[in-house]
């Protein structure tokens, strides 16, 4: 009874201390502490300063202390936890008991005295030196004490930490001072957490069963063992309160953490749950939005419609062949004309306007790097070992803190070229190789979905292996997302080619891309209609992309399809004036393979979204519906072209009478206008696109574009026919045919791995 009264009096006293200090009061007997957060400070520090971390949420560590902290205690807490801190007042006797409990369970391996030179008259620390290896408490001290870093390297890393807001350990790894395993060993010592090497570890299946795969993936933890009361977890960082609560609630067990590297945890998660991941990557869209998936080429309704239409046309051809063919030609001419006029208006308008989100150099310069979010870069690879050095240089040249880049190189399991090459390369620490288990369909979108499952970034972008994005592209996107309409979920950068001058094909390809990305897509953006995304350099808000079930693994132009789905979901795509240079396909058969896939994918996309044309109309409105028909449905023009070219050629050479019959005056004039004016318009726009981009020397090649359109039709028919027998087959584009091996390494792109260490200790 007396004890209870005394305890209550003590609580009242400390409650008043809290009130006088303007801090919150915490009764430690009533709150559930986060045992993993408590390890953020060592026992010695906790006892010396009478403070104990009790929770960790939203990046803020809450620290209990019986009184408001003196400056030195606060600085120590911030420095050692590496996070923002918030102090609360708790009764001293409760705090002492909590410290005893916390450190009794996990014995400390350090109990040395605080050196006198660190203490001032008030018992606190004096100003810090950069490192203090004789009293190794902080990461820098420990690394210098172990001979793994020098004081200068730690000083440089601290300066970078100050500039970027990244964790010191991440900076040291990124700078090549230490490896990730070395850092984890030091962190384990600092937090007095046991260390676990997961590279050869097989978790207890009973422990794995306690945590469903999606939760483990979301929380980035792996249960490795379990006993009656405790679940043992491999963790890469101290878990925040929400995570701890979620785990406790789910398992009803006490938690004990074992520290491991983030990469090892990711690899173990993939090893253990790889099959689940592949299932998610393959089936997420199909499961959640089955009507949006291209896993069926054509729906039953569409089948019935097309068969009915075919029967009708055949019947009409039998009954009245000439009027039927005239009608078909008339419809085709109308479609041609509508498509041409629409594209002309879009691109012509874009000539005189800037529809892209405008980001000025001043806005980029004003960015505080501490506020930059983590950015995930997905790079799907397949048999592309030759371009890997170029890939590392291209991404290394991005002006973005390396500690905030999460680059995932997505390889297929059966890729016996790229995977061994990557394993032999000394990749920068922000590059992670992700091996996608072998499963059908073997497509780029499936690999991207797989990579997205472990993406850390707030934003995510896809680059191809040979891409060279503008160095400031990521920073521009960060600014652009801040300025853009809140519905903007994707920002598409422009694509162009670095080897435009290689041959005639690359020149044509470049004029086409210049018109498409510099004029057509900005024009669509201005009209607020669906934008078929380009294959790379489309930057997404990660959470929204996941909500949309990301890319369709069955669609071979998953990018274009996603642009339509974004629009249907009420989101927007915007354009930005930043360019990624790619390798233009310079070899004809390779080009036809690539283009046939694109055209097949556009037809897939059109078929998927036209399963319910009226529903689509209700979802996106008339303007977007018509635009969809003309832009995506416009692909069918490539199939019609050869028929009309054949008729025209035949007529000129034979003056066959039956052809004249098929073109009565009104159809003839419409077709002739289309032939001459339409071709002129597209040639003009190709020239305009080249000139707009500054490729004046390419303008003359744009005049030869009709030959290029012929190639497109060959690819179009190849893709269309393939839709019937290999609908999901991914026609792989071979890269590295440009012979530009002398690509300069951008400043800051070079990566020096940490030195090999065979033993610990100070360097000689």
């Amino acid at each position: 009874m007396a004890g209870t009264i005394q305890s209550q009096a003590s609580r009242d006293f400390y409650r008043r201390v809290a009130r006088h200090a303007g801090l919150d009061f915490v009764d430690l007997d009533d709150v559930q502490m986060n045992p993993l957060a408590a390890r953020l400070l060592s026992e010695q520090i906790c006892r010396h300063f009478q403070m104990l971390p009790i929770s960790y949420a939203d990046g803020v560590v809450t620290i209990a202390s019986p009184e408001p902290p003196q400056e030195v205690a606060r600085d120590t807490a911030i420095s050692l936890t590496g996070r923002a801190v918030k102090f609360v007042v708790a009764p001293a006797e409760q705090l002492r008991a909590a410290i005893d409990r916390n450190f009794a369970a996990w014995p400390s391996d350090f109990d040395g005295p605080i050196p006198e030179e660190w203490q001032d008259a008030g018992g606190g620390f004096t100003a810090y030196r950069v490192t203090e290896p004789e009293f190794p408490v902080r990461i820098g001290d420990l690394l210098v004490a172990r001979g793994q870093a020098t004081d200068e390297q730690v000083a440089d890393a601290l300066a970078e930490q100050h500039r970027t807001g990244s964790r010191l350990g991440d900076v040291l790894v990124s700078n090549g001072v230490v490896t990730e395993p070395e850092l984890v060993a030091v962190l384990a010592e600092q937090f007095q957490l046991p260390l676990v090497d997961l590279s050869e570890y097989d978790p207890d299946p009973a422990a794995l069963e306690l945590l469903p795969e999606p939760l483990a993936r979301h929380l980035r933890v792996v249960p490795i063992a379990v006993d009656e009361n405790t679940l043992y977890l491999a963790i890469a960082d101290v878990l925040d309160d929400d995570t701890v609560s979620a785990l406790r609630e789910h398992t009803n067990l006490e938690l004990r953490g074992f520290l491991s590297s983030r990469n090892q945890i990711d690899e173990l998660l993939q090893r253990v749950h790889g099959k689940d991941y592949v299932t998610v990557a393959r089936s997420e869209l199909l499961t959640r939005f089955p009507e949006e998936s291209a896993n069926r080429v054509i729906s039953d309704g569409q089948k019935a419609f097309f068969i009915g239409l075919l029967v009708l046309i055949v019947a009409l051809l039998i009954v009245a062949p000439v009027p039927t063919v005239i009608g078909l030609i008339g419809c085709a001419s109308l479609f041609y004309t509508a498509t041409s006029i629409y594209k002309f208006v879009l691109t012509y308008n874009a000539l005189g306007h800037q529809y892209e989100i405008d980001v000025t150099p001043e806005e980029i310069a004003a960015l505080d790097e501490r506020d930059l979010p983590t950015y995930t870069i997905l790079v799907p690879l397949y048999r592309e070992a030759a371009v890997l050095p170029r890939l590392v240089n291209g991404i290394g040249g991005l002006d973005y803190p390396k500690t905030k880049l999460d680059v995932r190189l997505l390889c297929e399991e059966d890729d016996d070229e790229t995977v061994p090459a990557l394993r032999q390369m000394s990749l920068p620490p922000h590059f992670k190789m992700v091996v996608v288990p072998d499963a059908q369909p073997k497509t780029k979108p499936k690999a991207c979905n797989y990579g997205l499952l472990q993406a850390d970034g707030k934003y995510v972008v896809i680059y191809d292996a040979e891409d060279r994005p503008d160095p400031d592209q990521l920073k521009k996107i960060v600014v652009a997302f801040e300025k853009a309409d809140p519905r903007v979920t994707c920002i598409q950068a422009k694509l162009n080619y670095f080897n435009s001058d290689q041959n005639l094909l690359t020149r044509w390809f470049t004029t086409e891309y210049s018109m498409h990305f510099d004029l057509l897509l900005p024009g669509l953006d201005a009209q607020d209609v669906p934008i078929p995304l380009g294959g790379t350099s489309n930057h997404f808000i990660t959470d929204r992309l996941i909500d949309l079930a990301a890319w369709d693994p069955f669609n071979v132009t998953e990018d274009a399809d996603l642009g339509i789905r974004l629009h249907k979901a009420g989101f927007k795509t915007a354009m930005i004036d930043s360019t990624t240079l790619e390798e233009a396909n310079s070899e004809l058969t390779n080009w036809i393979r690539q283009r046939s896939r694109w055209i097949k994918g556009y037809i897939q996309t059109w078929l998927v979204h036209m399963r319910h044309p009226f529903r689509l109309y209700r979802q996106i409105g008339l303007k977007s519906w018509v635009s969809f028909q003309l832009v995506i449905g416009g692909t069918f023009i490539f199939l019609l072209n050869p028929i009309f070219w054949a008729l025209t050629t035949l007529f000129f050479f034979s003056s066959a009478g039956f052809i004249q019959q098929l073109f009565p005056s009104f159809v003839f004039y419409a077709a002739a206008i289309q032939l001459f004016i339409g071709n002129f318009v597209f040639m003009y726009l190709s020239v305009a696109g080249s000139v707009q981009r500054g490729y004046f020397d390419l303008a003359k090649y744009a005049l030869l574009s009709p030959l290029y359109w012929g190639l497109m039709s060959i690819a179009g028919w190849k893709g269309f026919l393939q839709l019937f027998y290999r609908p999901f087959y991914w026609e792989k584009t071979v890269h590295g045919l440009d012979h530009h091996d002398d690509m300069p390494v951008p400043a800051g792109a070079a990566w020096t791995p940490p030195p090999e260490r065979t033993q610990q200790g100070p360097p000689a």
């Binding site: 006293f13 006088h20 303007g22």
Partner: protein, 93 residues
Amino acid sequence: MALDVALQHGLPYTGLRDFTPDSKLFHYVPLPYAVQHRVVPMLVVGDTLKVASSSPTPDLSLLRSRFPYLGVDIVIAPGPEIDRVLERAQRNT
């Protein structure tokens, strides 16, 4: 002497010969700081802390910055008695 200071500044006076402060009050004024500035936290009444000092204007800036919602009343006490109280407190820590 201390009594003169108290009268001169219109402050209350107290002797500390048999006084033992509540150790918890050193959360308000840390002991090293109390020794350095020769002050003794005596009592908290409501939202006011009574502090014994031989000076009418002791340096309590740390106290005020850490406890912005706390009033402070100064009570004059003889310096040697303050020293003895603080010595006892240090021995008991």
